[in-house]
């Protein structure tokens, strides 16, 4: 067994996948790292899926532009999969990066592989096939990103609240995480997993709950929340990022270029915030963004 030389990569940083948005990239010091599991925790409607779709497209960017020069595998457990939104994002992505697709006459959607996952056993089946898929796929771009959206939905219906079921559930977490990390290490993949939140209910003795990470409490839409799946799952991921919305809106003026009349409009979008909850290489920081037609757009 030989140790791996830490100086083999140059520059000495791990490869990162850009989010397509400068503000978010700054907060994440380059983006989502490869060979690592990053979890995005957010309430429904905060933008987890939007960010994941955007990442699936950004993975196709060349490495010099912050991408991974690879395709993405999108495992979704919540239905329906937002195909229309993917097409919309893909169109604007294609327009802004024509050079990648010009020689090969394909479009960004060709490199996003979507697979639905019903439950935990199905996920294990799918993961067993991923290795074969990576080695034998005849696609132009190798697989470089796996997105699992969302892990909480897989566990919602099958497990009761009894200690033995919870233990079984916890060992499933470690199995999933172990397998994904093994794939990430073997093929240099970035893995992004989304997770939901549940309401925080104060216990009768007034204990304020277990603190995990940089934020004392997580607030979203004005109420206190806690990431789903508990402490066991928190041990399975390398980094955790929290997206929230607060009700603030941002007004932006724009001109509608399509219309010949050139009318201007004012759009109001909800301000969203991304916080680093814990990460081995990132200090505690946060940034704000909004979601536009073209995707995620940072706000200073």
């Amino acid at each position: 067994m030989k140790p791996r030389s830490l100086l083999s990569q140059s520059p000495t940083t791990s490869l990162k996948l850009t989010t397509g948005c400068e503000t978010l990239d700054e907060c994440l010091r380059g983006g989502f790292p490869c060979d690592s599991l990053t979890e995005i925790v957010a309430e429904s409607g905060c933008g987890k899926t939007q960010l994941c779709l955007q990442l699936s497209l950004c993975a196709q960017l060349p490495i010099s532009n912050g991408g991974l020069d690879g395709s993405a595998l999108y495992l979704h457990s919540e239905f329906p999969f937002p195909f229309r939104r993917l097409h919309q994002l893909s169109r604007s992505f294609h327009l802004s990066n024509p050079s990648i697709y010009a020689d090969h006459n394909d479009n960004p959607c060709d490199h996003v592989f979507v697979q639905n996952v019903h439950n935990v056993d199905h996920l294990f089946d799918v993961m067993a096939k991923i290795e074969y898929f990576v080695k034998n796929s005849k696609t132009r771009l190798p697989l470089k990103l796996i997105v699992l959206d969302s892990v909480a939905a897989l566990f919602r219906s099958e497990f009761d609240n009894t200690p033995s079921d919870l233990r079984k559930r916890a060992s499933c977490f470690f199995k999933i995480s172990g397998k994904l990390k093994q794939l990430a290490n073997k093929f240099g993949l970035a893995v992004v997993i989304t997770n939901q939140v549940t309401d925080f209910v104060e216990s009768s003795d007034g204990l304020s709950g277990l603190r995990i990470g940089n934020l004392r409490c997580l607030y979203s839409s004005g109420r206190r929340v806690v990431p789903a799946l508990g402490l066991a799952w928190a041990n399975c991921v390398n980094s955790r990022v929290f997206i929230s919305r607060s009700g603030d809106t941002i007004c932006q003026e724009g001109r509608d270029d399509d219309e010949r009349s050139g009318s201007s409009y004012v759009s109001r979008r909800a301000r969203r915030r991304l916080d680093i909850v814990f990460s081995p290489h990132l200090p505690a920081s946060s940034c704000d963004f909004v979601i536009t037609r073209e995707g995620i757009c940072g706000v200073r």
């Binding site: 067994m1 830490l6 060979d35 690592s36 470690f174 990390k181 940089n214 402490l231 991921v237 814990f278």
Partner: protein, 341 residues
């Protein structure tokens, strides 16, 4: 050698033994006035006894002047001296070093446990850098083995911490230069990274194979002074059909680490992750018996704290620390200078 063998009058011998001075080394380490007071003899008699004891222990040349009834057994006195002479690895946080008795001790297995995000990996990286601090600066001048089971080790973070360490050493050199010729700092951050032997482990079988291989690896790389396992629990929390087997495998691993620690005089730190809400460490009680020192990291308000939960020699105490861009530091101190021993 026993006091009973010394050529003394039986009354003095009796007094010595009943006062507790049963071996030569215990006599040779006290001053004559103390001996006289303890044993209730005159000063000159005590002085004579000491002279005799030193003569005899000087002429019998077995392991550093100590002798024992059972071959290979050491008496506690010698062990105490040995332990006090042992080097310790600083954590770069003087408050934390204080409760640890100077730093992470070599020859011991130290367990560090806590919730995700509290700083376990940060401590691991800090230690793998600090073990390399040269002897002129009070460090061990050794190398590190980092066994990564979770994929949390980030090279850029290690580089950041290594750069801060070199900067602190250079600052210290500049400070000491006024007083005497301090040696120039030869180390560069890239050298520090080169001296960390990094192993990535993706399954429990790999983990077991690696631990079995460590003995040979360390014999070939004698400079290794610390082995960091981050984290030992990860692969064992998956489905293990036979829980008894899991316990067996883990206790074997613990024993191997302890043997390695004793044989090669190195510190082994293993990271634990929290198991249940009552903040019990994962892997249960059977594992708890295997470890020598245990440190638990926890949040107290907005500050990170470390607590000595189990140690054969250190009192229970807690200290706060922070994780900065330069690594682990004191939380209250605003000065950036690392305290060199």
């Amino acid at each position: 050698m026993e006091t009973s063998r010394l050529p003394l009058s039986s009354s003095i011998r009796g007094k010595l033994i009943s006062a507790g001075y049963t071996s030569l080394s215990s006599i040779s380490s006290v001053s004559s006035t103390d001996l006289a007071r303890d044993v209730n003899i005159t000063d000159t008699e005590a002085f004579e006894i000491l002279k005799m004891a030193n003569q005899i222990s000087g002429s019998s040349s077995c392991n550093g002047g100590s002798s024992s009834l059972v071959n290979g057994a050491k008496n506690a006195w010698d062990m105490l001296h040995e332990e006090e002479a042992l080097p310790r690895i600083t954590t770069s946080c003087s408050d934390l070093d204080k409760i640890l008795g100077g730093g992470i001790s070599c020859r011991d297995v130290t367990e560090i446990g806590g919730v995700p995000g509290i700083g376990k990996t940060q401590i691991g990286i800090q230690l793998s850098v600090n073990v390399q601090i040269p002897r002129e600066f009070g460090g061990l001048g050794g190398k590190a083995i980092y066994i990564d089971t979770e994929g949390s080790f980030m090279v850029e973070r290690a580089l950041q911490i290594a750069e801060a360490c070199v900067e602190d050493m250079e600052e210290y050199t500049g400070y000491m230069h006024k007083h005497f010729e301090a040696s120039q700092v030869q180390m560069k951050p890239r050298d520090i990274l080169e001296n960390i032997f990094y192993f990535r482990v993706c399954s429990y079988t790999e983990q077991i194979a690696l631990v079995n291989h460590l003995d040979k690896f360390i014999s070939e790389n004698k400079d290794v002074k610390v082995v960091i396992v981050d984290s030992i629990t990860f692969h064992f929390r998956q489905d293990f059909d036979d829980l008894a087997q899991r316990t067996r495998v883990l206790s074997e691993m613990a024993l191997k680490f302890m043997k390695l620690a004793k044989k090669f005089s190195l510190a082994v730190t293993t990271k634990y992750t929290e198991g249940s809400f009552q903040l019990a460490l994962a892997l249960g009680d059977s594992w708890s018996h295997s470890c020598t020192n245990r440190v638990i990291l926890y949040w107290n308000g907005d500050e990170r704290y470390a607590y000595i939960d189990k140690s054969p020699s250190l009192p229970s105490a807690s200290a706060s620390y922070t994780v900065t861009s330069r690594g682990l530091r004191n939380s209250s101190s605003s000065s950036k200078r690392v305290k060199m021993m």
